[in-house]
C-alpha cells in the first residue's frame, strides 16, 4: 500500500496501519499489507497511477488529489459548500454515491472504498483580517483544488505549495494565509506561532472523504473472504478516522485557544454567502461539462438537497437548540 501521507502521519497514517493490522488479523495472517509513506516508494501524487498500473496493489489517498485526470473526482472527497461527513457517508453507502464512484474508477482499473473522513475543516490561518468578500482581493493564500478556484474568482491568488514549504512561506510573507486541516494537524504544523487569526468554518472542505484504492484486477482475483475483509476493514477505518478527528480536534482547539491564546474568528454570513455564490457557479460549470460529470453532479446535488432538508429538523436543531 502506497500512501499520500508522510510516514506515520497523525490519524491518516495511523489509520492505514490499523487497517493493515485488522486485515492481517481477520485473514489469519493470509494477507499482509506493507505500508509506504509518501515518497518512500513513490511520490504522493503518483499513488493513483501506481494502483492503476498495478505497480502498487493498494493506496490510501483522496480523490481530489487526482482531479487533473478527471474533474469529477472531487465529488468523492469534498467540494466547496458541499456535504459534511455524515451526509457524505449517507450518499456513498446508501444514496448511490459509492456505485457511481466505482463506475468512474473502473475506467482506471481501480476499485475505491470510503476509508476515513476529516470531518469539518477550519478555513485556515490568516495574517490579514477578512471582514468581507472584498478582503479576499489580492490575498495570496495556499489553497489547492476547487477552493483555490473559488478564491481566484473572488480576486485572490491561490498559491500551490507542498506541506513542507507552507510554514516558511507564511512566515516570510510569501503567502498571507493558508488552509491545512483542523486544530489537531494545524497545531502540529505550528501555524499558531506565525499567524494572527484562525478562521472558521472550512467552507472549502466540509467533510473530506479519504479513499482506499485497490487495483481492480488484483481485487477481482482475490477469494471472496479477502474481498469482504478489505471492504469491511475500510468501513471500520472510515468511522474510526472521523471519530479520531472529532476527538483530537476538540482537545487541540482547547490548547490553541487557552495555551496559545490564538484568536478564533468566524467569517460573517455575508462573506460566506458571497463565497457560496461563487462556489455554486464553479460547481455548476464543472457539473455540466460532460455526461459523466452531469450524472455525478446531479446525484450529489439531489442527495444533498434532500438530506439538508431533513437536517433542518434534526442535526441543525441539535446544534442550535440542544447542544448549548
Amino acid at each position: 500500500m502506497v500512501t499520500t501521507w508522510p510516514p506515520n502521519f497523525p490519524v491518516l497514517g495511523e489509520g492505514c496501519k490499523l487497517f493493515s493490522d485488522w486485515v492481517f488479523a481477520m485473514s489469519g495472517g493470509e494477507m499482509a499489507i506493507k505500508i509506504y509513506g509518501s515518497g518512500e516508494l513513490i511520490p504522493a501524487l503518483e499513488c493513483f497511477d501506481a494502483v492503476s498500473s498495478g505497480a502498487a496493489e493498494m493506496a490510501s489517498g483522496a480523490a481530489y488529489y487526482w482531479a487533473g485526470k478527471n474533474e469529477a473526482f472531487p465529488f468523492f472527497t469534498s467540494i466547496p459548500f458541499g456535504m459534511n461527513a455524515q451526509q457524505m457517508n449517507a450518499w456513498l453507502y446508501s444514496g448511490g454515491g459509492h456505485t457511481l464512484w466505482k463506475e468512474l474508477y473502473a475506467n482506471y482499473n481501480i476499485i475505491p472504498f470510503p476509508a476515513g473522513n476529516t470531518g469539518m475543516q477550519m478555513a485556515g490561518w490568516f495574517n490579514k483580517e477578512i471582514n468581507s468578500i472584498d478582503d479576499f482581493k489580492g490575498l495570496k493564500m495556499r489553497i489547492p483544488g476547487l477552493g483555490g478556484k473559488v478564491l481566484d474568482k473572488a480576486g485572490g491568488t491561490p498559491v500551490l505549495s507542498g506541506g513542507s514549504e507552507i510554514y516558511t512561506n507564511l512566515e516570510r510573507g510569501v503567502i498571507d494565509a493558508t488552509e491545512w486541516i483542523g486544530p489537531y494537524h494545524d497545531y502540529v504544523m505550528g501555524f499558531h506561532k506565525i499567524a494572527k487569526y484562525y478562521y472558521a468554518p472550512g467552507w472549502h472542505e466540509t467533510g473530506s472523504t479519504l479513499e482506499l484504492l485497490v487495483n481492480k484486477r488484483e481485487m477481482d482475483n482475490l477469494p471472496e473472504h479477502l474481498k469482504v475483509i478489505i471492504e469491511t476493514a475500510a468501513a471500520r477505518f472510515n468511522v474510526w478516522c472521523l471519530s479520531e478527528f472529532e476527538s483530537k480536534n476538540n482537545t487541540y482547539l482547547k490548547k490553541i485557544i487557552e495555551e496559545e491564546k490564538v484568536e478564533i474568528r468566524t467569517f460573517s454570513k455575508e462573506t460566506l454567502s458571497a463565497l457560496q455564490k461563487i462556489s455554486s457557479e464553479v460547481m455548476e460549470e464543472l457539473g455540466n461539462k460532460n455526461e459523466v460529470n452531469k450524472k455525478i453532479y446531479t446525484s450529489y446535488m439531489d442527495f444533498m438537497k434532500g438530506v439538508r432538508n431533513w437536517s433542518k429538523y434534526s442535526e441543525k436543531l441539535y446544534y442550535n437548540d440542544i447542544s448549548l
Copy 2:
C-alpha cells in the same frame, strides 16, 4: 443472535442480517450466525440476560433497554440532551467510552460493541399543541426511559406500551402523543394518519447507539481472527446504519410533508430550554448515585463539553451558514 427487533425490522433488522453475512463471508464460512427476531426465541427484553447466561451467544439491542439492571446503561445509548451520533462515536472509539462500557458489561459476562446508530430522532406525534413547557402538564405520552422521567417531572404522564399497541392507543385517545424513531420508521407505523402534529427535535434521543452483545466466555474462547472479524463487522454495521437512517429519513420526511401533508412543528427555544433544565437535574442525580455512575457520567459530560466547543467552529457553522 437474538435481537430486540421484530424479524426483518427496517434498517436495524436488515443490519443484523448484513452483519451476519459479512462475518460469514470474512470467515470463509467458519462462523455462521443465525438471527432470531424478537419473540422468535425469547422476548426482546430478555436478550441481555440470554447473552449474559450464555443461552444466546450474541444479541443486537440498545443499552437503555436494560436500565432496570443498572442505571448507568443509558449513557451508552442516548440520554436526554446528550451527544449526537458523530459525537457518541468519537467518545466511544476515541474518547474512552468503549473502554468504560466494556468494564461495566464485564460484570455481566458480556462484551459490548457499538453497532448501529439511529441519528437524531424526532420528538414524536402529538394530538395536542405544545407551545410552552406548560403544555406538557397532563400530557399522556408514550415515552420510555429517561425521556419519560423528564416528561414526568414536567407534569406529564409517561405511558409504557409495546410497539404493537401504540397506534391503537393514540387513535383511541388513550395517549395524547407518542415518540417512535424518525421519519422512515414513523411512516411505516402510519402515525401520520391519526396524529395532528409531528414535532422536532428529538431532544430525548439525539443519536442512539445500538449495541452488539457477545457472551464474554464465548468471545474469549474464539481464535483471534474471529474476534477481530466480529469487532470489525460491528463497526461497519455502525457506519452503515447511520448512513441508512440519514438517507431513508430524508426520503420519508419528504413523503410525510408532501404526500401526507403533515404539519411539522418545532419546539420553541424556551420549551427546549425548560426541558433541558429538567434533564440536567435528572442526569446529575443519576450520575452521582454511586462511584460507577459517577465515573461514566464524568467521562461522558467532559467529552461532550469539549466536543461541543469544537462543534461551535465546525458542525454548528456548517448547519447554520453553509448548508443553506
